[in-house]
């Protein structure tokens, strides 16, 4: 008798966990779009269009660690070696991720001769948030 009672209780608790779980899930889906626009309201317009609003939270992102000038003597029409990888121009423009976790990307066109090396690091602790949008809106500036 007491055994069935406990099992019923357990079942009830399981049910309540399930119910709360479903509701929390739905509520999260309901809240996230609004949270997004709320966070966006504290960002610079430049940032808004260059990265998602969720990047204000700490996360592992690519951070530039090195800039390399490719010497004029290297022919970029052929596969060439830079920062330890050998690849042709178009692959380098897309960015190459090396096995040791670096990302090597050619910036700009062939004449720019600029290559950057990035590494995954924790970023977002010093999010650039601003009240400018609110100040401008309330004071009527554009």
């Amino acid at each position: 008798m007491s055994g069935t009672k406990t099992s019923q209780k357990g079942q009830k608790r399981l049910g309540s966990v399930f119910v709360n779980g479903v509701l929390v899930l739905i509520c999260l889906v309901w809240l996230i779009p609004t949270i997004g626009v709320f966070i966006t309201s504290f960002r610079n317009s430049e940032d808004i269009y260059s990265s998602g609003w969720w990047t204000v939270f700490p996360h592992r992102g690519w951070v530039k660690v090195e800039e390399i000038r490719v010497p004029e003597s290297i022919d970029v029409d052929q596969p060439f070696e830079v920062a330890g990888v050998t690849a042709d121009f178009s692959t380098l423009r897309q960015g190459i991720v090396t096995p040791d976790g670096r990302k090597i990307t050619w910036i700009g066109n062939k004449r720019s001769r600029l290559v950057i090396v990035e590494e995954k690091r924790w970023v977002g602790f010093s999010a650039r948030l601003t009240l400018d949008n609110y100040r401008d809106t309330l004071s009527g500036e554009s």
Binding site: P33, S51, W53
Partner: protein
């Protein structure tokens, strides 16, 4: 009568006013004065160069006082009549303004729209049913009808279904108020505001080197190893993405009304069912749903009407392009972009006729529930 007061000069005038010729003169004179006062006020408000503050004060006094004056004078006039006529006419003094407003703002525009719908784009010549042929056969309109059907079925279905699910589930938790507040919150957001909010979900930045997706949906898809998609440019699935916005906004409404209906179910009924061995699903489908059926129908028809005349979301998100056009948006385009009042009016009439049956049904349901 033992305490008869001495007649003062004022009473004498009043006596004279309420008898015979005086009565007749007064009932002509008083409305005339009223009309003159109101007319002078109107002329003053139209032509005056007085400081803004004075104009505002005069406008308020003129507007509010004018209504009171009109009511007072007409009521006074009617009460001068014999008892039977007072009984006959007095109701009209009370509902008269409402009827006048209904006539002027609702009935006349409808008739005007009906006439315009049989005329050409500039409303000069009659063209027969040409506009209606457009409204029912044009490719653009057929697409709009199809999309409205999608909105009606999917939008209403998901709003009511999710609202019911949340109402039933939230009824069993101690945090009911928190959940319901969160789901209800979007109801406070305007449709245009919702458009801005959801742009940050569906945003698509295009392809290229170094481009970061700023849309949440694309970020999730990329995170799962997929490829960024221009969600709002992909017919016919973009309609579904727009419908999601309406569901997001309207579920709260369905939820609160259904929740109150669920709380109104007698608890003995549910207990009896559980004692008889019904499981939760049986309780839900065979006890709860039939009991709240009339509320369910009212909510459904309200949201159906809502989805039929839906406009803002489509206007803000896609402007009706890429196969997302709806009837109300096409009406807007015809009237304000193409300046074709004939076609616009025909679409408006079609929309009106489409909504009327649902409306009548809805009002019947409301009356059954004694909502008014």
């Amino acid at each position: 009568m033992q305490n008869q007061p001495r007649l003062s000069a004022g009473d004498q005038i009043l006596n004279w006013l309420t008898t015979g010729v005086g009565r007749l003169l007064a009932s002509i004179f008083v409305p005339l004065v009223t009309f003159l006062v109101l007319w002078r006020g109107f002329i003053f408000l139209r032509d005056s160069n007085a400081p803004q503050f004075i104009i505002v004060v005069v406008a308020i006094v003129w507007g509010v006082g004018g209504v009171a004056l009109l009511y007072g004078v007409s009521n006074w006039l009617v009460e001068k009549l014999s008892g039977e006529w007072v009984r006959r006419l007095q109701p009209f003094i009370f509902i008269g303004p409402a009827i006048a407003i209904l006539f002027w703002y609702l009935f006349l525009p409808t008739i005007r729209t009906l006439i315009l719908s049989f005329q050409d784009g500039l409303g000069r010549n009659f063209v027969g049913i040409e506009n209606y042929i457009f409204a029912f056969t044009d490719r653009v309109m057929l697409e709009a009808f199809r999309n409205n059907l999608l909105w009606m079925v999917l939008g209403t279905g998901f709003s009511v279904g999710l609202g019911l699910l949340i109402a039933v589930l939230a009824d069993r938790t101690p945090f009911e108020k928190v959940y319901k507040a969160i789901i209800f919150m979007p109801m406070a957001i305007s449709f245009v505001g919702a458009g801005v909010i959801w742009k940050f979900v569906y945003a698509y930045r295009g392809e290229g080197v170094g481009i970061q997706e700023i849309g949440l949906l694309n970020a999730i898809v990329i995170g799962l190893g997929g490829k960024a998609q221009p969600w709002l440019l992909l017919p016919p699935i973009n309609n579904l993405f727009l419908i999601v916005i309406m569901v997001w906004l309207q579920t709260g409404y369905a939820m609160v009304i259904l929740s109150s209906a669920i709380k109104g179910i007698p608890s003995e009924l549910l207990e009896a069912a559980r004692v008889d061995g019904a499981n939760e699903f049986q309780v839900f489908f065979q006890i709860m749903v039939p009991t709240i059926q009339s509320t369910l129908l009212t909510v459904t028809t309200t949201i159906v009407i809502f989805s039929l005349k839906l406009f803002d979301i489509v206007r803000v998100m896609t402007g009706g392009n890429y196969g997302t056009n709806v009837i109300a948006n096409e009406f807007y385009l015809q009237q304000f972009t193409y300046n074709h009042s004939g076609r616009a009016s025909a679409i408006a009439i079609v929309l009106l006729i489409a909504v009327i049956p649902v409306m009548i049904y809805n009002l019947r349901q409301f009356r059954k529930r004694r909502a008014f």
